[in-house]
Symmetry: C2
Subunit: 115 residues, 2 copies
Amino acid sequence: MARKTGMNVEFRIWFFKNDEKLLGKGRVELLERIGKSGSIASAAKEMKMSYRQAWQMVNEMNERSGGKLVEKQLGGKDGGGTVVTARGNEAIKCFGELEKKTRIFLDKEFKKLKI
Amino acid sequence: MARKTGMNVEFRIWFFKNDEKLLGKGRVELLERIGKSGSIASAAKEMKMSYRQAWQMVNEMNERSGGKLVEKQLGGKDGGGTVVTARGNEAIKCFGELEKKTRIFLDKEFKKLKI
DNA sequence: TATCGATATGTATTGCAATGCATATTAAAG
DNA sequence: CTTTAATATGCATTGCAATACATATCGATA
């Protein structure tokens, strides 16, 4: 077999809590964009997903994590918004770090394969 | 944050060739079942997927891998079937090994996270 | 050359998740 | 109070991928 010409490995990781999906790449990106933009609505628009879906994801994350990752801020002259909690930012950071380590690990291991 | 009570990490890996998906967990299982049962049709039935989908997966794998992973065997008193090539078995083995190593790596790294 | 069961492929149907749209609710700020 | 824009939620629609079904093709064997 031609040794891995043009071959590479890709991956996804997910954090689970009580056997329910808590966080994946998409949800982490959503959290990050909520953090920067200040609302679920604008984060959803940036990611070209429906507000409804974004809201549901956020809601699931909050329900499942055992402590809110984001917090709504209703009211105010600009109608309110949503902020990412300290716990949410921790989660983002942990996920990103593990992704990075995994990328390095897999590239290294993939090179060893006789394929 | 309560330190990872009930938390764990899950993952999936894929082998790509020229930026096209070549192999994932499902396709590897399909290959394995083709190997044991001797036909795409019975492998598909075992996995409760449509024959059409199974055939398409096999076809894509063969087209993309740059060397067949399975080979059809038409004719014969039992109408023929499909066998997994040496290259196909190599691929199955490599994928399984990398999955196993990744499982170990991720469990270890996940424990280190302050989450 | 008739038989066999699997491969190969077109077309119609279905199932379900994502989207779109409408609207009620919220609470701080002016 | 009124205004504001975002959250929260019901319901109809849509889009797409998987399924279902029908059928043509293949080639070793008997």
